[in-house]
Symmetry: C2
Subunit: 333 residues, 2 copies
């Protein structure tokens, strides 16, 4: 076992958003590593990605609580004595954040204030790992985007995630909480919500390819993005949580190399042997929050923590497609 | 009358936080200019600065509503058909924001989402002027601080005000709302809350000098700040609201020149002929959110809108002291 992972053995580990995409993949990984006390909490907000099937096969080896971490009393009990708090809860849909900005504020800001207050009072020594997003940068003013890039989010979700990561930084500086923030790029892999298209394009593209449908891309399809396979993302999260050097830091993740949406869709059609690709003009509400080319410089986490994306895109997509083909009925509706 | 001010005559003008410090000074100024339909709304949240006496002498020439702009139904009625919405409501205390981060989030984020949603639906053509704060920058990485300075707030209040200004920018870009944001520095003048020390140092220093008390300064007193007399601040707000060029923009305000806290306190002792100055070590909770030297570059608003601070500091302080001596009983408790 890699040295950094040993830190997690025999500790109390809390994962918020634990039934979601990344949270559940993290739980699977931790359980493979050995004995720990793993506790998931999830509010199971409709359409946010929580799915009981995501812990299929490991449900006997962890505890699951269903409540909103805004509930400070319950959250106090949850985190008391925790050594690690992986704070992955949140609303991730750009589109939903514009339709219901108040709900986005509750899920992405108010709940994290509650969590941080609970940690401050009940587990002040815990490592707290928060997953933010590249959306805090808005449109790229230069490429690749590093952590010093200006912050200018282009949707409500990006604004609220920015506030939430700033709370985590602040609670480190002011109260000494041991927080670290990762700005995730477009993560994909097994256990992601794919049944609607409001949580990013990748899951939706994958579902359409598997279903043999037309994958619709807005614009000319040349917009480039960096995709991160969830196993690589989880590895970064574990590295960040295990390192003292990471406290109070913000790290970008990134991909081996960016790919344009058209190439991505065509790759999915190839791998599945199904579906097709169609280019379409941007609808107004999408154009207003589109950011064009965007990919991150992950040099900082590479230098400080030794992280790098290891999964080849084609390999990651193949494994993802295999998963959804096997468990289609759990994710399609 | 200056040309830019004529835009306001015979229009429906809403001021949120209208019974507060800057809101009420703005109302006085608008009423001096001529006939308009001026409507103030204020939630009168305890300790936030709302004070009925602030509209003494003009109460018959405007309407006042007491409710929280989070109430979307009432806010819809309020803004329907408005030509100008001066959105000055908010919680401004650094210290209170750390003690009750949820309340700060409600007052500085949730309420502005409600206001912007109401404007989008019921007065999409209105000019919306939002007053943010230099706190969004955090510690100065260079001086003077211009609008391109990195955003790294050091307290919950700064984080939430940053989110709120970003909502205003976003609603301009996405929905075409005609918003502009001013990042205020340390504003002082008549009608400010001075009865406790949690809303900035100036009001508190002024009260202590008038009371003949010891003005306590944390650190060596050499930390420099830029002070803006409220008449100058109001002028900037009116200029920003009257100019099409300002839509979607963010502007710093600033001072003729910065002054260190020790010199400021000594000037107050001179003007009042009372009080004294004492230097004291920083208490822990204050040190954690102290930002050292800080003053802004107001070149952008000067170039685009012709604004500059016109009031000499000594003159502004003298007028302020005169006001509080006359109306002491309205502000002391």
């Amino acid at each position: 076992m890699a040295e950094h992972l040993e830190s997690y053995i025999n500790h109390k580990i809390v994962i918020t958003g634990g039934l979601g995409f990344i949270g559940s993949n993290l739980a699977h990984r931790l359980i493979k590593m050995g004995d720990s006390q793993i506790i998931l909490v999830d509010a199971m907000v409709p359409d946010c990605g929580g799915n009981y099937f995501n812990i299929h096969g490991i449900e006997d080896r962890l505890k699951v609580h269903i409540f909103d971490i805004s509930d400070e009393d319950k959250t106090a009990e949850l985190v008391r004595g925790a050594h690690y708090v992986f704070n992955l809860a949140g609303q991730v849909s750009h589109v939903d954040s514009m339709r219901d900005p108040h709900q986005d504020l509750r899920l992405n800001c108010a709940s994290h204030i509650s969590l941080l207050e609970a940690c401050r009072k009940h587990c002040p020594e815990a490592r707290i790992i928060y997953t933010s997003t590249r959306q805090v940068y808005g449109k790229a003013q230069y490429l690749p985007v590093d952590e010093l890039h200006p912050l200018s989010p282009v949707d409500v979700n990006g604004i609220n995630k920015l506030a939430a990561e700033q709370y985590h930084l602040l609670y480190n500086r002011v109260y000494g909480l041991r927080t670290v923030t990762l700005r995730l790029t477009n993560t994909y892999g097994p256990r992601q919500l794919v049944r609607h298209n409001r949580q990013g394009f990748i899951g939706w593209f994958i579902k359409q390819a598997i279903d043999g449908q037309e994958i619709k891309i807005f614009g000319d399809g040349k917009q480039r993005r960096d995709l991160s396979f969830v196993d690589d993302t989880v590895e970064a999260i574990l590295l960040a949580g295990a390192s003292e050097e990471s406290e109070g830091q913000i790290f970008n993740l990134g991909a081996q190399e960016p790919i344009c949406l058209l190439d991505l869709a065509q790759m999915l059609v190839e791998i599945t042997g199904r579906g097709s690709v169609q280019l379409a003009p941007f609808p107004q509400e999408r154009r207003a929050i589109d950011i064009g080319d965007f990919y991150c410089d992950y040099g900082k986490i590479n230098r400080l923590l030794g992280w790098q994306p290891r999964t080849e895109l084609r390999d990651g997509l193949s494994r993802t497609i295999e998963y959804y083909r096997e468990y289609k009925e759990q994710y399609w509706s």
